[in-house]
Symmetry: C2
Subunit: 207 residues, 2 copies
């Protein structure tokens, strides 16, 4: 499939959310789902669901809906999560350590295959089956292990310097937990995880 980079980021994000909903339906042994039901589970309308999917082809049967497993496997192909993804994590502090052992990643088949830190006491230690590498070898190991996605959990003041190194090693996709904007060229995708967004939207419901 051609990677159409003109597809809105929000559509890609929703694809991933549809995939998770479909996974939960599979667990409940639900076999089919309509665009209306799928939309309701995500809080969008059925037209949005159909429009999102239409970016990638023709799915489902008009008047019937979608086969849950079939649609999920199609979405995984689109997102290319139907293969092992090679992830590297930089910064084995509290958050980094938490992510190394995060069962939510394993549940989806995502594996962190390399971790990096600059703390001599941590380097060489094994954490959840991953040996913590010296950040001095970052670029070399990224290339050797063909790492595709970098998770960044370093202190704010180190974030840009490390990002520059990661880019020079050929990385183009970064998941950034550091609460700071990174300066990157246009061809690089950075997703920012802002955990405070969740608190903010929960606040609305406080009684």
């Amino acid at each position: 499939m051609e990677r159409n980079l003109k597809i809105p980021k929000a559509v890609i994000k929703r694809l991933s959310l549809y995939s998770r909903i479909l996974q939960n339906l599979e667990i409940k042994n639900v076999q089919k789902v309509s665009s209306k039901e799928l939309g309701e589970l995500l809080g969008v309308n059925s037209a949005q669901v159909r429009k999102d999917l239409a970016y990638f082809g023709q799915f489902g049967v008009p008047g019937f809906g979608y086969y849950v497993s079939e649609l999920r496997s199609e979405i995984k192909k689109i997102l290319r999560t139907d293969r092992p993804i090679k992830i590297g994590l930089i910064g084995v502090g509290n958050l980094g350590t938490a992510l190394l052992s995060y069962t939510g990643f394993k549940k989806q088949g995502f594996n962190i295959i390399a971790a990096f830190d600059n703390d001599k006491r941590k380097i060489g230690r094994r954490q959840n089956n991953v040996i913590i590498e010296d950040i001095e070898n970052l670029e070399k190991i990224i290339r050797e292990k063909e790492i595709e996605i970098i998770i960044l959990t370093v202190p704010v003041e180190k974030a840009q310097e490390i990002t520059d190194k990661v880019l020079s090693a050929g990385i183009t996709t970064i998941l950034n937990f550091v609460p700071t904007r990174l300066i990157v060229p246009d061809y690089v995708k950075v997703h920012y995880v802002d955990l405070s967004i969740e608190i903010e939207s929960l606040s609305f419901y406080v009684k």
Copy 2:
């Protein structure tokens, strides 16, 4: 304002994202923004922006747009993030510790005012200005400190039991980092933070 609970969850989530975008515009000294610009920054269209805001009243000037600071302050009022929010955190493991020191919360004025664990070695210790309390006193302290939102970072097998206690102390809003579904009554809002969703949508962009 009447808390209209029929408002789609996705709208509330987007309000929070608009607020963050407006905050970034404020930092850049941008004074006004159109619904088109706001939509583009979030990956939705201008009609969606106007529709989202229309749930809560009349904002902005037709043909002109919105004053950035004014709209942000209106949205904060709607989300009720214009006041200190009292947050409690349960489970001071790696993720819990990371959240206690997460500068992204502080940046938004969110403060975790109580933390709980069952590990005797942790209880009584001070972590980022919060004393770790014995989980035995959970219900008592939730009531005394008038905690409004609970962040759950406990092991999967403890999640439901602790949730039940939290509910009996009167909590109705939970931010759940544990990768498991919680069984709660209808009037309780649980937001699930699934960190793998971000990896999934990044996968699409891997070159």
